[in-house]
């Protein structure tokens, strides 16, 4: 197996851009004129054009970050629209061919999250051919990228009668913007744990977590599963160095989440005042990283156990009763769930990434890992003046197999809890398809026993999304050179 050629890999697969670039825009594009679309791809791959943004590649940037980044993903319909032959289209895996909306039940996109309720442009998934993503420090740069894209594609989700380059389009309504301190909505520090790869300049943080094989996220390389290779689409040469992506627009009901924490905190305070078993040891609040009263500490502990991390990123498996002072991300990533862990089995991060902990599917511990790139969208939330405006996360979940990784996590671990018999049949507390009548989460009390927390609603609703293929640069050149 030869070394990866980083120059052939799109930059957003092995690297997150959020550290240096504040704003993100995902543009949903339709091919109207295949020849124009192919010229755009050729120029984007070649770079150096004043009219077309250049595809950002994976080689390490060195000291200076670029002022903007640009990457593309294609849907199956998009590959067809560009003129890919049927025999080549048939080389793609079924879940990608069907698309995210067709896989809704498996992904838990039911009820309010069902594709029938997705707003434009996600109400017409067949129209989305290409998802182009711009990253920059100014919205003006993103507007320029969108203007360039609009000369080669139809930009979907644009409101009727408005010029495509105006701010009043879906693109800018749903621009992703970093929140302070790399938080996401619900207040958690994010992007702490990512798979690490043995690639020059891409080993991630200084974590000591085990390195993952490149086949976790890139096509054409050995995977975490011994001897197992996922099918490389198009051809071995063209598909290699590509990846698949599940792009999701996930609205987060921050008001409901904070209101539920209020209720849960008060109920737990009443319980311990009545002589019931406490959630936190006496005076645990004195060890918090900031002044906080008992009620505040209890509601924060509920938030921490539901997620598996305190809101500043401290793992509950490391510190079960209070957050540690915000330190290095390495300290917040170097842990596992071996033995008698203090992290509840139902906690969100333990479900999606069981690390070395014992799970039912014994071969799957690291086999379903995803590279996650998420950016918040919508107005920041002010707890003193709660509102119901739409806000949430623009999530990208990258992997070599949407079926074996993304869908397996979503269907078996998040919404069925199959990885651990203590939570089987119970949905994820943060992003699961919960209803107040049915929801339950087992809080781990200070004495090690459990308390059933009930009555919480669904906090996250899917508002749209798309499965895309992130082609290698060689594959982009192939697409750009298609005839017809």
């Amino acid at each position: 197996m030869s070394e990866v050629r980083l120059d052939n890999v799109q930059g957003n697969i092995l690297r997150g851009y959020r550290g240096g670039l504040r704003h993100v825009r995902h543009m949903m594009l339709a091919v109207a004129d295949p020849a124009a679309a192919r010229r755009f791809l050729a120029a984007a791959s070649r770079g150096g054009s004043v009219d077309v943004p250049a595809i950002t590649r994976a080689p390490h940037w060195g000291a200076a970050d670029p002022p903007a980044c640009f990457n593309i993903g294609l849907t199956h319909a998009g590959l067809r629209a560009l003129g890919v032959a049927e025999a080549m289209l048939a080389t793609f895996p079924r879940e990608f061919v069907e698309g995210m909306a067709e896989r809704a039940v498996k992904l838990g996109d039911i009820g309010d999250s069902a594709p029938a309720n997705w707003p434009a442009p996600f109400d017409r998934p067949d129209r989305i051919h290409l998802v182009a993503t711009g990253y920059a420090n100014s919205p003006g740069t993103l507007d320029a990228m969108q203007a360039a894209a609009s000369r080669a594609f139809d930009v979907l989700g644009v409101r009727d009668g408005r010029a495509r380059t105006e701010r009043d389009v879906l693109g800018s309504d749903r621009d992703g913007d970093n929140l302070p301190a790399r938080r996401v909505f619900f207040g958690y520090a994010d992007s702490i744990a990512q798979p690490r790869f043995a690639v020059d300049g891409h080993a991630g943080s200084s974590s000591t977590r085990p390195l993952q094989p490149l086949g976790t996220v890139l096509l054409g390389y050995p995977t975490q599963l011994e001897g197992v290779f996922f099918r490389v689409p198009l051809s071995d040469e063209l598909g290699r160095d590509g990846a698949f992506n599940a792009f999701r627009v996930m609205a987060q009901d921050v008001s409901a989440f904070e209101a539920y924490l209020d209720d849960a905190g008060e109920a737990l305070l009443r319980l311990e005042q009545a002589g019931g078993p406490p959630l936190l040891p006496v005076d645990a609040e004195a060890s918090f990283d900031r002044p906080i009263d008992r009620l505040g500490a209890l509601r924060e502990a509920v938030a921490a156990q539901m997620c598996g991390r305190w809101r500043n990123g401290t793992p509950v498996a490391v510190s079960p009763f209070h957050p540690l002072p915000a330190g290095s991300r390495k300290a917040f990533n170097d842990f596992d769930y071996r033995g008698a862990t203090t992290c509840p089995a139902g906690a969100h991060i333990r479900r999606v990434n069981p690390r070395d902990g014992m799970i039912v599917q014994r071969n799957a511990n690291y086999a379903r890992q995803l590279v996650r790139r998420g950016t918040p969208y919508g107005p920041d939330f002010d707890a003193a003046q709660p509102d119901d405006r739409e806000r949430g996360l623009l999530g990208n979940f990258l992997c070599a197999s949407l079926g074996a990784q993304y869908e397996a996590v979503m269907s078996d671990w998040l919404n069925l809890g199959l990885s651990n018999p203590d939570v089987t049949g119970i949905n994820d507390p943060l992003i699961g398809t919960n209803t107040p009548e049915m929801s339950v989460f087992d809080l781990r009390l200070a004495d090690g026993l459990y308390h059933h927390l009930r009555g919480f609603p669904r906090f996250v609703t899917t508002r749209g999304g798309s499965y895309t293929f992130l082609p290698s640069l060689a594959a982009i050149d192939y697409l750009a050179a298609l005839p017809g």
């Binding site: 079924r94 039940v105 014994r362 269907s411 049949g425 398809t433």
Partner: protein, 237 residues
């Protein structure tokens, strides 16, 4: 006309009359099938919306033998028998399997199993766990050459199993209409079907899917995963 008249009795007796059965099977049903194309429906349980529906799902995998003779059947019996320990250890390692057994019916090797969770994940975990052993069995199975070795043909093998897992008629009979409409897209008109159309829908489906499971099956302890049962019995999961 009052019930019990001669015409009623005659019509009621039609299904038992040989000439009527002959005309139905050889003329009427093919005509219906031509007028109302009914695609073969995929096998196995359908994706579940309620967590409890995702547990104890049934697989009825029917794999026609290459060699349809007593010797051919013996060959596959030996292949299973020689690898039985490895197969059972592998099935145990998958972690989500309640029961699994291999049966020869006519000239088919059948694998019947009860598993938890998503079908694709089950088959993939099966490959990871015992793909190399199962490859030895697949050499005796029809149309399996393209999926061996299974570890190099993961997506193809999942689709291959899906195509040979028998279709499960819905537990609520009228749900068949929605499944058929979805399979006929985009030509289906989506209008509601009268209840009286159900027998015809079933006949046309049984014409397209010769082997079916009649519903999703009985569960003596519904709603528990294999790991939950093992945990409660104290035998480790």
């Amino acid at each position: 006309m009052a019930d019990g008249g001669w015409l009623d009795r005659f019509v009621d007796s039609l299904p038992t009359r040989g000439w009527f059965k002959f005309i139905s099977n050889h003329l009427v049903v093919p005509l219906w099938a031509w007028r109302e194309p009914t695609p073969r429906l995929p096998g196995g349980p359908r994706p579940a919306t309620a967590p409890g529906d995702g547990l104890q799902r049934m697989m009825n995998l029917i794999m026609p033998l290459k060699e349809k003779t007593p010797i051919g059947r013996a060959r596959v019996a030996v292949a299973i028998g020689q690898n039985l320990d490895a197969l059972y250890t592998g099935l145990d390692n998958v972690g989500t399997i309640h029961f699994a057994r291999f049966v020869i019916v006519d000239n088919n090797l059948c694998m019947m199993s009860v598993y938890d969770g998503d079908f694709d994940s089950y088959v993939r975990d099966f490959i990871v766990s015992i793909g190399n052993v199962f490859d030895a069995v697949l050499q005796f199975i029809e149309d399996a050459d393209d999926v061996v070795p299974t570890r190099r043909n993961v997506e193809k093998f999942v689709a291959w199993v899906h195509a040979r897992d028998v279709f499960q008629l819905p537990d609520f009979a009228t749900d068949l209409f929605a499944l058929q409409a979805a399979a006929r897209r985009p030509s289906a008109d989506g209008s509601p079907r009268p209840l009286t159309a159900l027998p015809r829908a079933v006949i046309l489906q049984l014409r397209a899917n010769r082997n079916v499971s009649l519903g999703s099956g009985f569960r003596g302890y519904a709603g528990f995963s294999a790991a939950q049962i093992r945990q409660r019995l104290g035998i480790g999961w």
